[in-house]
């Protein structure tokens, strides 16, 4: 280190307008911290146990245990219907883990260091959300491999399948901001886990993932039809099995945008308070 000169403001006494971090820099900081998250997953792959086991358990359980009863014997057809739905459900469940890990992480000293650096305030949170890409990819790879072994086949084309996967990952990242918010709000990782589990059940089970909403009583059907998990499942069935895409896709995108618009600022505010 050479001779240090302190900022010119000391000498001149002038105050320039406050420095802000531009969006391009914020993205770069977020990506650098996403890299940190991915390296961490690589060092302790045990963190992936939930995204490996959940798709296996759900697929086996629903196809072989309940499938016969629900689908009236047409297990092969039921597999074709619920695979896209289970993709949505498991990615959705994978997306809530983030609040728990961030809650633990944000109380460690390293977050104080990030806060004391000239980087975007959002970067540690954005980085964590982006690093979850690895979890989604692992989750979907396990699920699609097992489903294929069990007899599932994509009916459309590879481009549509890739679009489905990209859309689903974006869906997971959007909805993970709810979990980030709860993670910043709660005192302990345990309470984050508890609250998120309670929130997730009506979203995942009260949907058309396992049964058609036509079989539900009217009030539940109303919810199931506007449930983002249902909409996303329909969009994925369209993209993977063929059928209508535009309507459910539009509904899903509205949900994703809405959740980010509401929960990103809330999470940021909670994160700032958390610091003080």
């Amino acid at each position: 280190m050479t001779t240090t000169t302190i900022a010119p403001a000391v000498i001149s006494g002038t105050q320039p307008s406050p420095l802000r971090i531009g969006p391009a820099k914020a993205v770069r900081h977020g990506l650098a911290l996403a890299g940190r998250g991915i390296v961490k997953i690589g060092k302790s792959p045990a963190q992936l146990i939930d995204v490996i086991l959940t798709p296996i358990v759900f697929l086996l359980m629903f196809v072989y245990l309940f499938g016969g009863a629900i689908a009236g014997g047409d297990v092969a057809g039921y597999l074709q219907t619920i695979t896209p739905g289970i993709m949505v459900m498991t990615v959705f469940q994978a997306s809530i883990g983030i609040g728990v890990s961030l809650n633990a992480d944000a109380s460690t000293g390293v977050f104080d260091r990030f806060r004391s650096m000239p980087i975007a305030r959002s970067a540690p949170l954005v980085g964590a959300v982006l690093a979850d890409l690895v979890r989604y990819v692992v989750c979907l790879a396990v699920l699609l491999t097992l489903a294929t072994v069990m007899g599932y086949r994509v009916q459309t084309n590879p481009a549509a399948a890739l679009a489905a996967i990209a859309l689903l990952i974006a869906f997971g990242m959007s909805f993970s901001w709810i979990s980030v918010y709860v993670g910043m709000l709660m005192k302990t990782p345990g309470s984050v886990q508890g609250l998120m589990t309670v929130l997730v059940i009506p979203l995942t089970f009260a949907s058309n993932v396992f049964v058609p909403s036509q079989t539900m009583p009217g009030w539940l059907r109303v919810w199931s039809d506007i449930n983002p998990v249902s909409l996303m499942s329909d969009a994925l069935r369209g993209l993977l099995n063929g059928g209508e895409v535009a309507g459910p896709l539009f509904g899903s995108l509205v949900w994703m945008a809405g959740v980010v618009v509401v929960f990103f600022p809330l999470a940021m505010r909670a994160y700032r308070r958390n610091a003080a």
Binding site: A7, A9, V10, P18, D112, S116
Partner: protein
């Protein structure tokens, strides 16, 4: 004189608890200021405010001329933070931590790697660079923390209790690093519970107690403010103790205290010139001495006089309840 840090009337409350009750602080560029005080005195709260991690409820502060509340990003560009809170990521290696911080500070991948190597070499961590941090000793951990706070070449460095919990050897290592940084022109704000540490490193010391500044000055000034100097003499032969005691009493007009175990005679003096007179008298009497000197009161005595509590007691309380300041500050 230009100041790296200026704070005026900082107030911070947690509910009914007042953590900071109007703290003023000034640190000239390139100097080391030691903030000394027991746990709960408000040292860490002050650092957190100056590091833009926390907003004060009252008062204002500038770092490098930039307001910590109005222009926090510029302040963050000037500072480095190390200590109890700002640490490193345990699940990454030392090298990965340093490279990540470099990347966050907008260095290219190549520059970030080069900077990491430079710091690892400087802090003698090259061999451990790729090992898990959990295998590090306390001293290595602290050196890595310091390295991490220096990636961006900060002009103002906050060291929040940098040697708490370190053994004397590791403490000396950290002190050496701090001295080198200061020699390079870095301004340092150091909080500590160790009087010796502040005395060793700081140009000026600010003493905190219960969220207030209770004393401020150069280490020597503080010592003088608290009490006079003492003259200490240790005759080579125990049989000379009486003779030396008589001479001391004659010169100072007070009976010296005698420590029979160490053979040390101690007497308060008002006039430091007495030392030369004493040497002549001892010479004349043919008495050989092993030790003869003027001593300023220790900072422990300073602390007792300024706060009404001995520093040792506060230190002991700290060790019994290490969580206390974390919740409070």
């Amino acid at each position: 004189m230009s100041y790296a840090i200026q704070a005026e009337g900082l107030v911070k409350r947690y509910g009914n608890m007042v953590a900071l009750d109007g703290v003023d602080l000034e640190v000239p560029v390139g100097k080391v200021i030691g903030v000394l005080g027991p746990n709960g005195a408000g040292k860490t709260t002050t650092v957190r405010i100056l590091a833009t991690l926390m907003r004060p409820d009252g008062g204002r502060a500038t770092v490098g001329g930039y307001d910590v509340m109005k222009d926090p990003v510029r302040v963050r560009g000037l500072i480095g933070l190390t200590g109890q809170y700002a640490s490193v990521d345990e699940s990454l290696s030392g090298r990965e931590n340093l490279v990540l911080l470099g990347r966050l500070l907008d260095m290219s991948k190549r520059n970030a790697k080069a900077r990491a190597v430079e710091l690892l070499e400087r802090f003698e961590l090259v061999d451990a660079a790729d090992r898990p941090i959990s295998t590090f000793s306390g001293g290595m951990r602290r050196r890595l923390d310091l390295a991490a706070s220096l990636v961006g070449r900060p002009q103002v460095l906050y060291l929040d209790e940098p040697t708490t919990g370190l053994d004397p050897h590791a403490r000396n290592e950290v002190w050496e690093v701090v001295r080198r940084l200061v020699a390079d022109g870095t301004t340092v704000l150091l909080t500590t519970q160790y009087l010796e540490e502040a005395d060793q490193l700081a140009d000026r010391i600010t003493v905190f107690d219960h969220g207030r500044v209770v004393a401020e000055g150069k280490p020597g000034e503080l010592k003088r403010r608290v009490g006079g100097q003492t003259l200490q003499v240790r005759p080579t032969l125990a049989s000379d103790l009486d003779e030396v005691g008589r001479i001391l009493a004659e010169l100072t007009g007070a009976a010296p205290a005698r420590d029979l175990n160490t053979g040390l005679l101690t007497v308060p003096v008002a006039d430091p010139m007495l030392v030369s007179a004493l040497v002549r008298r001892l010479d004349g009497a043919g008495v050989a001495v092993d030790e003869l000197g003027l001593r300023l009161p220790s900072l422990d005595e300073v602390f007792l006089a300024l706060t009404g509590r001995p520093a040792e007691e506060s230190k002991r309380n700290t060790q019994q309840n290490p969580i206390a300041e974390r919740n409070v500050a």
